[in-house]
């Protein structure tokens, strides 16, 4: 049986496009999954029940589909040497195995991330990463509910998870967290805290993405040709940005911010393309926010210029 492995779980292209390709699920009919579900029901009930509720049957059916789908996604080829698709049972077992392996890898990744992790006292960040993730690794049920990631993942990452669920959701979330921490770590902690405080005095309780606020500050400082670690914008700065935003179309503003981000990544992050791809998702959102602020003449409020300027 030929199975090709991808060396990276996520690469820059996937972060940029967010594309998720369905590999070969259409080759399987649902009928092929029923014997696998039947065996799973036996294990679930320890052979002590001849029937299950439809809710449980659904959960176990989804578990089988999830394993097969996961296995197919993580291998670009899933065929016998003869060119036929592999039997559903084998596809399920391979997918299950892959999920087990990936869960272990993510657990190790999470453990290695912890010593340098900083939540900057944000409650949602602490709850999700420091408390939620250990609970996930303790309770994640690969056998009977691999599709359930258990956590609500309240702290918002820059790129929404979309359709991902189960270990895929956690995988993407942890990868995003690592990238955001990589981005933030370069800045002095007191600077990040000051920027957050400037943003909102109750930042610790808000569901905000810290790296988006710091990134916004950095890119605008660069645009204003101010020192990167500038903590505040003057009213004059706000007026200048307003003029620039109104002078350029949204596309042009995005291009300007993209260029500034490229410079930032080149100089501060050894041209880390994965980080660039991830952070560039925020450029579009930042452009929209800037345009709204400019058009409604509240750039000063938006950037917190009113305080202390």
């Amino acid at each position: 049986m030929k199975v090709e492995k991808k060396t990276n779980e996520w690469n820059a292209a996937e972060w940029k496009t967010g594309e998720r390709k369905d590999h070969g699920m259409e080759d399987y009919a649902m009928e092929e999954f029923v014997p696998i579900v039947s065996k799973l029901v036996e294990r679930y009930t320890s052979k002590e029940s001849s029937s299950v509720s439809v809710a449980v049957a659904r959960q176990l059916m989804e578990a089988v589909v999830y394993c097969i789908h996961y296995g197919l996604r993580k291998s670009s080829k899933y065929q016998l040497d003869s060119g036929e698709k592999i039997p559903a049972q084998t596809a399920y077992e391979l997918g299950y195995q892959r999920i087990m392996e990936r869960t272990k890898q993510l657990n190790d990744l999470y453990t290695s991330m912890l010593p340098t992790f900083s939540a900057y006292d944000n409650r949602a960040y602490i709850d999700t990463i420091m408390k939620g993730m250990p609970a996930f690794f303790l309770h994640y049920d690969v056998q009977f509910a691999p599709q359930d990631q258990i956590l609500t993942l309240d702290y918002p990452i820059l790129r929404p998870l979309g359709q991902e669920e189960g270990i895929e959701a956690i995988d993407r979330y942890l990868q995003a967290t690592i990238l955001e921490q990589t981005f933030l770590r370069v800045y002095p902690e007191e600077y990040v805290r000051a920027v957050l405080e400037q943003y909102h005095e109750d930042h610790k309780e808000l569901l905000i993405n810290i790296s988006s606020i710091v990134l916004q500050n950095s890119l605008l400082s660069m645009w204003l040709r101010k020192p990167l670690l500038s903590r505040e914008f003057s009213l004059k700065d706000c007026d200048w940005i307003t003029d620039q935003v109104l002078m350029h179309s949204s596309v042009e503003t995005e291009q300007i911010l993209e260029r500034l981000l490229q410079i930032l990544i080149k100089r501060g992050y050894e041209d880390n393309q994965e980080l660039y791809a991830y952070l560039s998702y925020e450029i579009h959102e930042l452009t929209i926010r800037l345009r709204n602020a400019a058009e409604h003449e509240n750039m000063a409020l938006f950037l917190g210029c009113m305080r202390g300027s």
């Binding site: 036996e42 009930t45 029940s49 001849s50 029937s51 439809v54 809710a55 049957a57 659904r58």
Partner: protein, 152 residues
Amino acid sequence: MKDEELMQFLTLQQGNQEVVLQKQKENLMNCNTYTTKFGLRLSEQEAQELLVERKESLKREGRIEFGEGILTKLIYAFCDSAYIYQDNYVDTIERLQEIFYLYKNECLDEITDDELIAYMKERFEGICQGDLEYLEDTALESIARKIRRGDW
């Protein structure tokens, strides 16, 4: 896929295949070897009726059965009952099957098949004195309450 569609799909896979149905009917007929001792026999038609009722019962209670099902176990457990005789045999087994699925749900699947059947038999023969309504509405309610309270 909605619950109803999923049920229909899985039930179709489990129960509508000719070979599977034939095997299930054979298993029921094989029970006669033992139940004859107690004056109870199933005809082929009655075995078929039980299988049809099984499907309806499962649908009503929102359950899906994988494998052989509970009928043969019920028959072997209750065939020596003082309250079951040839005239009421099929109807009683049908009702017991219905009550069984109902209480698997009421007990949140926290009770095994064998435990529930044993409990049903004990109550049926004892306090219920063969009264199926009493078994369903009163005698089994206490065990369901115990389980929901976490006292099981």
